[in-house]
């Protein structure tokens, strides 16, 4: 049922928003219909055409709500005019209904809405998550999320944010905004694994589904393809990211046999669709980097020069200290740890508060045989992260380094 809801919720909200010209009302009606489905379907069985059932129910709920409010006579007319609304089973199927989810996505991710509002609204309207589910996903209270949603919907109405796909001239910029929302949603879910229970609808999977929807609706946008490929490649490695104890495993040390080959193949096919380099972009480059990792037989056997080139290109779009840090790791593999350490040290000022900066330094220092400096860097990294999986990893590394430390082991031996 969850899959049906997700597939239908956005479609229904989009369609009703069009006919009612009232985003807020449309969304309430869809939620009413989903609640009705939860009551009826387990008792009476899932209907032959669940989408049509939901649409009819949502329309009826809409008529009820409008009658109760005794307003917008013309909107009631708009609802009743829609052909087929009188009989559930004879409704045109979902395919015949105009798909307006793209309009819905662009409205939810409108730049005039705050980022957190865009996220909540997209999950609610396009994915059909409940307020409670969204609250759990963001570790926020239900009241906070409910207020956020109300505020965002009021702004859409009061400031007249239009319900439409942007014009050609603005599409690229507006699509960037949508992709940024989806990528943030993905990271929120992906990085939080281990912090939350598995029973919650996972934000990373929702984001992947949304990205695939965008690709389906806008098949020729290379950055959308890039983002979807990137998400698939991350998800392909999900099973290898944690060990049996729930501790995080670095890419370098992951069991590559645990990687999901089918997902990697999917991603490779997506990459094949944007490989013509006329319209390059940051998601495409990140997907190329992730694909090079996914296809490598081992950490050492990775196509590092290719990854380094992709990072060089990526700097043109986002010259951030974090991108430079990742580039330095690739540089270390191509040109050696000494050169990489020089690059990393140059980032000290901007990244001193970032645990992965110190963890990366520790790794390079260890390769250069500077065990004490490496341990100090690992300790600094440990101070800076609260993520239990990451902490466990760092503690393990510090302990291991202490055990084989050339200074400490002889002392232990002398003590004996």
């Amino acid at each position: 049922m969850a899959a049906v809801f997700r597939a239908e919720a956005g479609r229904l909200t989009a369609s009703l928003t069009r006919s009612l010209r009232d985003f807020d009302l449309a969304e309430e009606c869809v939620q009413d219909a989903l609640v009705a489905a939860l009551e009826h379907w387990p008792r009476e069985g899932v209907p032959y055409n669940p989408g049509a059932w939901l649409l009819t129910t949502a329309r009826r709920k809409g008529i009820d709500r409008l009658r109760r409010a005794k307003r917008y006579q013309e909107n009631i007319a708009a609802l009743e005019e829609t052909p087929g609304s009188s009989a559930t089973r004879e409704l045109p199927d979902g395919g015949a209904m105009r798909d307006e989810r793209l309009e819905l996505i662009f409205t939810c991710c409108h730049p005039a809405l705050a980022r957190e509002a865009q996220l909540a609204l997209t999950l609610r309207s396009v994915c059909g998550l409940t307020t409670a589910e969204i609250a759990r996903a963001f570790l926020a209270s239900e009241t906070t999320i409910a207020q956020r949603l109300v505020r965002a919907k009021r702004k859409i109405v009061d400031a007249r944010i239009p319900f439409r796909v942007p014009e050609r001239a603005e599409l690229a910029e507006r699509l960037d905004e949508v992709l940024a929302v989806l990528y943030l949603m993905f990271n929120e879910g992906y990085l939080a694994t281990g912090r939350r229970g598995a029973q919650d609808r996972d934000l990373a999977t929702e984001a992947e589904w949304l990205a695939s929807l965008v690709v389906e609706l806008l098949p020729d946008e290379p950055e959308a393809l890039g983002l979807l490929a990137l998400m698939r490649l991350h998800l392909a490695r999900a099973a290898a990211r944690f060990d049996a104890r729930g501790d995080m495993v670095l890419l370098k040390d992951q069991h590559r046999s645990l990687w999901d080959r089918a997902k990697i193949d999917d991603a490779r096919a997506l990459v094949g669709r944007f490989l013509r380099p006329e319209r390059p972009g940051p998601y495409q480059l990140q997907a190329l980097i992730a694909l090079a990792h996914a296809e490598a037989p081992s950490w050492e056997g990775t196509r590092w020069p290719e990854i380094l080139r992709a990072y060089d290109a990526l700097l043109a779009y986002s010259d951030t200290p974090v991108v430079r840090l990742n580039r330095a790791i690739a540089l270390g593999q191509v040109a050696g740890p000494e050169q990489a350490l020089r690059e990393v040290d140059a980032l000290a000022e901007s990244l001193d508060g970032y645990h992965l900066f110190h963890a990366t330094r520790a790794e390079l220092l260890r390769q250069l045989g500077r065990a004490d400096d490496a341990r100090a860097a690992d300790r600094r990294a440990l101070e800076l992260t609260e993520n239990p999986a990451e902490r466990a990893l760092l503690e393990r590394r510090i302990d291991a380094a202490a055990g084989v430390s050339p200074r400490r082991s002889p002392e232990i031996e002398r003590g004996r």
């Binding site: 730049p111 005039a112 009061d158 400031a159 007249r160 239009p162 439409r164």
Partner: protein, 113 residues
């Protein structure tokens, strides 16, 4: 159609940082932009305000009137002018605001009676 108010804001110290020629060039550019928006029927009215230092503020606090020098809010950026525009929706308002050549624009929907 919908009406919005554009509140043009800027860091007022810019006038001290530019040469006389630069300032004249900027004013000419703003003048051209304004005329074009009026010609297109986008701008239906608007004014340039004198710097916030020339403002005086009247405030009612617990029933008492307090008059102070300066603007009602002390901030780095101050409103320097406004325009009332008439366009189809927020997207169009944003499109117009992006072409404003002299700083930032706050877009506020006008409350229609």
């Amino acid at each position: 159609m919908a009406r919005y108010m554009f509140l043009f804001f800027d860091d007022e110290t810019w006038t001290q940082r530019v040469t006389k020629e630069e300032m004249e060039r900027d004013y000419a550019e703003v003048g051209r932009w304004w005329d074009e928006q009026v010609r297109k029927g986008v701008i239906t009215g608007g004014r340039e305000l004198r710097p916030s230092g020339t403002a005086r503020t009247v405030r009612r606090v617990n029933g008492r009137l307090i008059v102070t020098d300066g603007p009602f809010i002390e901030a780095k950026e101050q409103v320097g002018g406004y325009a009332v525009i008439e366009v189809a929706d927020l997207d169009e308002a944003i499109r117009v605001a992006k072409t404003w050549p002299a700083g930032g624009v706050e877009i506020r929907p006008v409350l229609e009676p």
